[in-house]
C-alpha cells in the first residue's frame, strides 16, 4: 500500500487539486484508491461530491479515532475513488490527536494497517492536508510512504518547502517506511526573471527530490475545479492533455516506489 501525503505549510499551492486529480489518475489505472480528507475545511470531500454538512462528525476520521473501523467510514465517489471525508469538527482533531498515545503520531498508520485485513483494502491512499504544521501533519507523515509537495516558483513557497524538508526528516526518524519528499511543480508558470531565479534555486537545491512531471497552468484544470470534477471526469478544452500529465505523474510515482 502506497500512502501519499500531499502537504505544504503554505496554503494556496494546489494541494487539494493535486490530491483529487492524482487519486482519480490512480483509479484510472485500475488501482484501488482511498482519499483521506484531513482538512477541516472539507474541500476535497466537497470536490468528491460530499456536500458540507451532510455527514456526522463520526463519519470522518474522528469516528476512526473513536474506534470505528476505517472500512465502515469510507464511501464511494463518482471519480472511482473511495473517500474518508472530513467534517468541520475536525478543527478539534489536533487536540484529540495530542491526547492519544505518542501524541497520535501512529494513529493514522494503525488505522490504515487495520484496514488491510478488511473488505476494502487499498493499493493507494492519498492524504489531503491543511496548510499547517501540527499533530495532523505529524500523524499523516507517520503513516505516509511518500510526501508530495506542490510548489510554485515563489519565495514564500520555497521557505515553506524548507520547513517541510525538516518535517519529513523528523518523520523519517519515527516512520522508516517514509521514503522521502517529492516536489511537484504545480500550476507552474515562469513569467519574469524573478520566477526564473526561484526556479533555478529550486532545481539546484532540490534536484534529487524534484519530480520530472510538471503541471502547468491549464484552463481545463481550473474549469474542472470549478465544476468540482477531476480532469478525468471533466470533458472539455485541453482536458486530454492534463489527463495525460496526471497519468505521467502516476507512472513516475509507481516507478519511484517500485510498484510496477
Amino acid at each position: 500500500m502506497q500512502v501519499y501525503a500531499v502537504s505544504l505549510e503554505k496554503g494556496g499551492v494546489g494541494k487539494t487539486s493535486i490530491a483529487v486529480n492524482l487519486a482519480a489518475a490512480f483509479a484510472q489505472v485500475n488501482l484501488r484508491v482511498l482519499l483521506i480528507d484531513l482538512d477541516a475545511q472539507c474541500h476535497a470531500s466537497q470536490w468528491l461530491g460530499i456536500p458540507a454538512g451532510s455527514l456526522r462528525p463520526d463519519e470522518s476520521l474522528l469516528g476512526v479515532l473513536q474506534g470505528r473501523p476505517l472500512a465502515t467510514c469510507v464511501r464511494p465517489t463518482d471519480e472511482g475513488v473511495m473517500v474518508l471525508p472530513a467534517h468541520p469538527a475536525m478543527a478539534g482533531l489536533p487536540a484529540l490527536l495530542v491526547s492519544q498515545p505518542n501524541s497520535g503520531l501512529f494513529t493514522l498508520r494503525k488505522a490504515l494497517d487495520q484496514s488491510r485485513g478488511a473488505e476494502a483494502p487499498f493499493d493507494v491512499v492519498i492524504l489531503d492536508l491543511a496548510p499547517a504544521r501540527g499533530p495532523v501533519q505529524a500523524t499523516a507523515l507517520g503513516a505516509a510512504t511518500r510526501c508530495i509537495a506542490p510548489v510554485q516558483a515563489e519565495d514564500l513557497v520555497l521557505q515553506s518547502l524548507k520547513a517541510l524538508v525538516d518535517s519529513v526528516e523528523q518523520a523519517q526518524q519515527i516512520n522508516p517506511q517514509l521514503r522521502g519528499l517529492s516536489i511537484l511543480r504545480n500550476r507552474y508558470m515562469l513569467r519574469g526573471s524573478i520566477d526564473h531565479a526561484y526556479d533555478e534555486a529550486l532545481r539546484e537545491e532540490y534536484a534529487a527530490q524534484l519530480l520530472q512531471t510538471t503541471v502547468p497552468v491549464r484552463a481545463a484544470l481550473r474549469h474542472a475545479a470549478g465544476v468540482q470534477q477531476s480532469v478525468f471526469r471533466y470533458q472539455g478544452g485541453d482536458s486530454s492533455e492534463v489527463r495525460s500529465l496526471f497519468i505521467d505523474l502516476v507512472e513516475e510515482l509507481m516507478r519511484l516506489d517500485g510498484v510496477v
Partner: protein, 410 residues
C-alpha cells in the same frame, strides 16, 4: 478508429498493474531467512521526543497523552496568587458585566469575548489547559488556568456550564510564564504592555536574573527589551489603560517619552489616555453600526501620530495639568549646557599653555561671568530651598517631637 496513443499507454499501465496483482495473489516463495512483511523497528524514545518537539506547539507538548475532560466552569479559576497571575489584561467575568450590561470601560473587550463565547457554544476546538489547585480568593476553584483564560472568561459570559480541558501538573513559575507567552505571542490582541509585564514576571521567576537571561528566554533583542520596559514608566493604573487600548510601544512612545523626560505630568498622561479611550470607543461604536471591520483587535484607529498630536495639545492647552512636582521645561537644556561647559573646561585645563595673552584675557572675563551667574543661581536656589524645607511652624513641630519638651507640654 485505431486506439489513440494515450489509450495505448493507459492500457499498458493497466496491464502491468494487473500482472502485479496476480503476482501478489500467488503465495510467496518459501523463505527461511526473511519474514514476508518485516515489522518496522519501533521508533526510539529520542526520535519520538524529537518528533513531538518538532510537530507540536508548547501547550500541545504539555498536554501530550492526557485525556480531554469536560470540567464545570465553577471548578476552574484563574491563578491569582502573587507571581502566578497571567501577565495579561483580562478582568474577572464579574468585573466585565455589571448589572447585566458590559462595563463601559471594557465594552470592546466584552464584545470580543461574547463573540468568542458564542463560537464556544457551537464548538470548542481547543481544550483549555488547567492544573489542580484552589485559591483563597476562590476556594471553590479546584483547577487553575494555565492556558485559556480568554476562553474560560468567554464561556462564563455566555453562561456555559462546562468547558473542555486538559489537566496537567502544576508548572513552575518560569515554565508558566514562558508557556503563556508562547501561547499569546502569536495572537493579534496581545499587546506590548502585556509583553512588558511578561518580561518583569520572567525576571522575577528566574530569581531576579539579569535582563540578558530574560531576553534569551523569549529570543528578544536587547533593543526590543529596552523598548518594552520603557512602558513601565506609566503608573499601575495607566498601564492597565495602555493595555486595554492595546497601544503598541511605538504608538505610545510620545507618552512614555514625555513621562521619562519629565515633560508630562501624571494628570496630563491621564488626560491623553482618557481621550484615546474615547476615540477607541467611538471607532468601535462606528464599526458596530456599519458592521464593517473598522477596528481590528489592534484598535487600528489609534496610531502614533494621534498619540503625538494629543500629547502636544495637552502640553499646550492644559498647563494646569503640569503638577508642581514635574520638571520645568527650561531645566533639561540648561543642565545639558552646564554639563557640556564643565567637560569643555576640564579638557581646556590641559591645553591653556598655548593660549596668547589676548585670548587668555577674554577667557578669564567669560569665566568671571560664569562664576557670577552660577553664584546668583545658587543663592536664589538656597533661598527657595530654605523656604521649601522649613515651612512655617516646621521648627516648632520638630521641637514638639523632642521627648523632654513633649512630656512638659502634655
Amino acid at each position: 478508429m485505431p486506439p489513440s496513443k494515450s489509450q495505448d499507454r493507459l492500457a499498458d499501465i493497466r496491464a502491468r498493474v494487473a500482472r502485479r496483482a496476480e503476482q501478489a495473489a500467488e503465495p510467496p516463495p518459501p523463505s527461511d531467512t526473511a519474514p514476508a512483511s518485516p515489522e518496522p523497528a519501533p521508533a526510539s524514545e529520542a526520535a519520538l521526543a524529537a518528533a513531538s518537539a518538532h510537530f507540536l506547539g508548547a501547550a500541545e507538548q504539555l498536554a501530550q497523552g492526557r485525556a480531554v475532560v469536560s470540567l464545570p466552569l465553577r471548578d476552574i479559576a484563574p491563578d491569582e496568587r502573587p507571581g502566578m497571575r497571567q501577565p495579561r489584561l483580562l478582568p474577572r467575568p464579574e468585573a466585565l458585566i455589571v448589572d447585566g450590561a458590559p462595563a463601559p470601560a471594557y465594552a470592546a473587550l466584552v464584545a470580543e469575548l461574547l463573540a468568542l463565547g458564542q463560537s464556544l457554544k457551537e464548538r470548542q476546538i481547543q481544550p483549555i489547559i488547567v492544573y489542580p489547585g484552589g485559591s483563597e480568593a476562590r476556594p471553590e476553584g479546584r483547577y487553575h488556568i494555565l492556558v485559556g483564560h480568554r476562553r474560560w472568561t468567554a464561556a462564563n459570559l455566555v453562561g456555559l456550564a462546562a468547558i473542555d480541558a486538559v489537566v496537567v501538573d502544576p508548572p513552575d513559575e518560569a515554565t508558566r510564564v514562558r508557556l503563556q507567552y508562547t501561547e499569546n505571542e502569536a495572537r493579534e490582541e496581545f499587546s506590548d504592555m502585556e509583553r512588558a509585564w511578561t518580561l518583569v514576571q520572567m525576571k522575577r521567576a528566574l530569581g531576579d536574573a539579569p535582563w540578558e537571561s530574560v531576553e534569551a528566554q523569549f529570543g528578544l533583542s536587547r533593543t526590543r527589551r529596552h523598548e518594552l520596559i520603557r512602558l513601565l514608566a506609566f503608573s499601575a493604573e495607566q498601564q492597565q489603560q495602555v493595555a486595554l487600548l492595546r497601544l503598541q510601544e511605538t504608538q505610545a512612545r510620545p507618552l512614555h517619552a514625555g513621562i521619562r523626560n519629565g515633560e508630562l505630568s501624571p494628570p496630563q498622561v491621564d488626560l491623553v489616555l482618557q481621550r484615546l479611550a474615547q476615540i477607541a470607543a467611538a471607532r468601535a461604536a462606528l464599526a458596530t453600526q456599519t458592521g464593517g471591520a473598522a477596528t481590528t483587535q489592534r484598535r487600528a484607529g489609534i496610531d502614533g501620530p494621534t498619540v503625538a498630536r494629543l500629547v502636544a495639545r495637552v502640553q499646550r492647552t492644559d498647563p494646569l495639568g503640569a503638577a508642581p512636582a514635574s520638571t520645568p521645561r527650561w531645566l533639561p537644556p540648561l543642565r545639558e549646557q552646564i554639563m557640556r561647559a564643565t567637560t569643555g573646561m576640564r579638557r581646556a585645563a590641559a591645553r591653556v599653555e598655548g593660549l596668547n595673552g589676548e585670548d587668555s584675557a577674554i577667557l578669564l572675563t567669560d569665566l568671571g561671568a560664569l562664576i557670577e551667574g552660577a553664584t546668583a543661581l545658587m543663592q536664589a536656589m538656597q533661598l527657595v530651598s530654605l523656604d521649601a524645607a522649613s515651612p512655617p511652624g516646621a521648627l516648632d513641630e520638630l521641637a514638639g517631637d523632642d521627648p523632654g519638651d513633649g512630656g512638659a507640654a502634655g
